[in-house]
Symmetry: C2
Subunit: 165 residues, 2 copies
């Protein structure tokens, strides 16, 4: 992997994961593959419980246990494929950290929804600040807290988006 991997996506998530695993003397098992596929089947944010409830109820040989889902998510994070972007309703929220443009999030404290926005402006400021401090920046995470448009105009009562299953 001496190629420039900074421009666009030339390597699939699975290849990247496989490579990471090999450097760790770990294996790409059927279970890890299933988790990987499920996670990258959509670009939506998700939390562990959502994934677990999907995969522990899958039929036959697509079933993966809770423990393995948790353990695999750790590996996916370490491999650079996933990252935690927020915390909502007491759960970490994950998103793809590979092959998609940099962005940050507006986090609604009422319903827990996440809204993405491009990180371009923020990145400029961050770069300037980093330079000022001689800090070699590798990334950032910005969470904006408040109330989303919908909840602002909606009723005062709480409508937390809990499990959607």
């Amino acid at each position: 992997m001496s190629d420039l991997e900074s421009v666009s996506v030339a390597v699939s998530p699975r290849d990247k994961f496989r490579e990471y695993l090999s450097t760790q003397n770990k294996r790409l098992t059927r279970e890890r593959d299933i988790v990987l596929e499920q996670v990258f089947s959509s670009h939506e944010h998700f939390d562990r419980e959502e994934l677990v409830s999907t995969l522990t109820t899958s039929s036959g040989d697509r079933r993966v246990s809770r423990a393995t889902v948790y353990r695999t998510l750790q590996e996916l994070e370490r491999s650079g494929l996933l990252r935690k972007v927020a915390r909502a309703n007491g759960r970490d929220v994950f998103e793809h950290d590979y092959g998609y443009p940099q962005h940050d999030h507006l986090i609604c404290g009422e319903c827990g929804s996440l809204t993405e926005f491009p990180a371009t402006e923020i990145s400029k400021v961050v770069s300037a600040v980093s330079a000022t401090h001689g800090f070699r920046q590798s990334g950032h995470r910005l969470e904006v807290y408040g109330t989303c448009d919908e909840c602002c105009r909606g009723s005062r009562g709480r409508h937390p988006k809990l499990d959607m299953l």
Copy 2:
């Protein structure tokens, strides 16, 4: 100094808390006052467990139960006196959100040091973005990851911070 000055900080945390509580038809009890005092007795970051272990072992009439500490921290957060700034070791980290300038952090992945910088620039961008999305912003948290000046130029060996707190 005139007590009509509402610019700058002329109101103590306790006064602000009292005011908040009254708007909620809630009471400034002895227990809430003790938690408040303990929290504002220093500017250090802290987590719930630290506070709980201090206050549940206090002598006699300064003792506060775990449940009340948790409940009071929620009120302090809602009142705008406290905010969560990070998550470490599975616990939320709190800091004062009143009477001190807004700032964010550069986080060194080598030595673990935190460097604060003023949030003014970031806040402008955040406000603009929030407005665009009809998001009623109440605050933000920005963590910049990378390597600090010292570690960049320093020895190649690692100087990981000792586990604090």
